[in-house]
Point group: C2
Chain length 163, copies 2
Amino acid sequence: MDLEIIVQGAQAESKPELKLWLRLLSTTKLISHEIRRRLRAEYGATLPQFDLLAQLYRERDGLRLGELSRRTMVTNGNVTGLVERLEADGLVVRETPDGDRRVTVAKLTPKGEEFFAGMAAAHEGWLRDMMADVSPELIQSMLREVGLLKISARNHLSGAEEE
Amino acid sequence: MDLEIIVQGAQAESKPELKLWLRLLSTTKLISHEIRRRLRAEYGATLPQFDLLAQLYRERDGLRLGELSRRTMVTNGNVTGLVERLEADGLVVRETPDGDRRVTVAKLTPKGEEFFAGMAAAHEGWLRDMMADVSPELIQSMLREVGLLKISARNHLSGAEEE
DNA sequence: CCGAAATGCTTTAAATGTCAAAGGTCGGCG
DNA sequence: CGCCGACCTTTGACATTTAAAGCATTTCGG
């Protein structure tokens, strides 16, 4: 039934980092699956598409594909395909600025803005619903603590990542 | 640079659930990417393969594919291909028990056990390293809180899921 | 200016992921 | 005995993902 319950078992008492990681991962998967299912059922959209549109919704002048890639933590090649599909759906347009013809900028169409606005409202409601049994204090507490974890992880990456 | 920093912006003050979700998601992605990269670089393995082997490592008698599917949160059809590749690598064997020929049980080979044991030790070390700046108290606290969040999310799924 | 290096995007191959439908197999009921 | 329904896995069609290779364009040193 539950990944972490089974993965632990015998030597569960120690290894708190591993335990926390498994719990984080399974919780995130659980919520992601639910959001993915609802996005698909109610809007015919995928989670990566939602993420990408969210970025563009906040930057009305559009974003370069490389920038989109970094912000969504999706690889370059993937952004290409995602934007292609969204463009085919009429939610996004691609433009090449005059200054640098290597660059492609994606931006929302009016249709895309309207479409995303509806999804975003529903998305927020789903999250409030799924977190309904968690007190506001606990949410604030987790927000802070997960922030610290994220900083720690970022400071211990193997790839050359400075700040 | 950072998904959540950008996604928030203007109306960031409210919507704590959304904010927490974005932070959870980006943190999990960050750690996943790092683990995936190291697994690939040092062991030539993928994250789903690691997950699947981890389940089998804890159940030396093997697991039915359907059970593997539930534990790894991966669909049935996907487990088939995953196990096929691992079998081709000699890490896993498939057997059909005498009692019920509908069933396929996957279990680790000695080679698979040895291989996974090495990966698991490294994996645990990577996690300790990435969480090095987080105090043990905070880890315990997050463990508890994320557990509560998971329960809340599970109780508010749209799919018919009782307990 | 020229050519090498860097930059930005796209393409490719292999793996993973979903979903739905098809294939065997088992169990029970008439 | 024989069939129907339930159970388990595989298959098939596609969408998504990553890493790496491939193109085109720009930048910079000489």
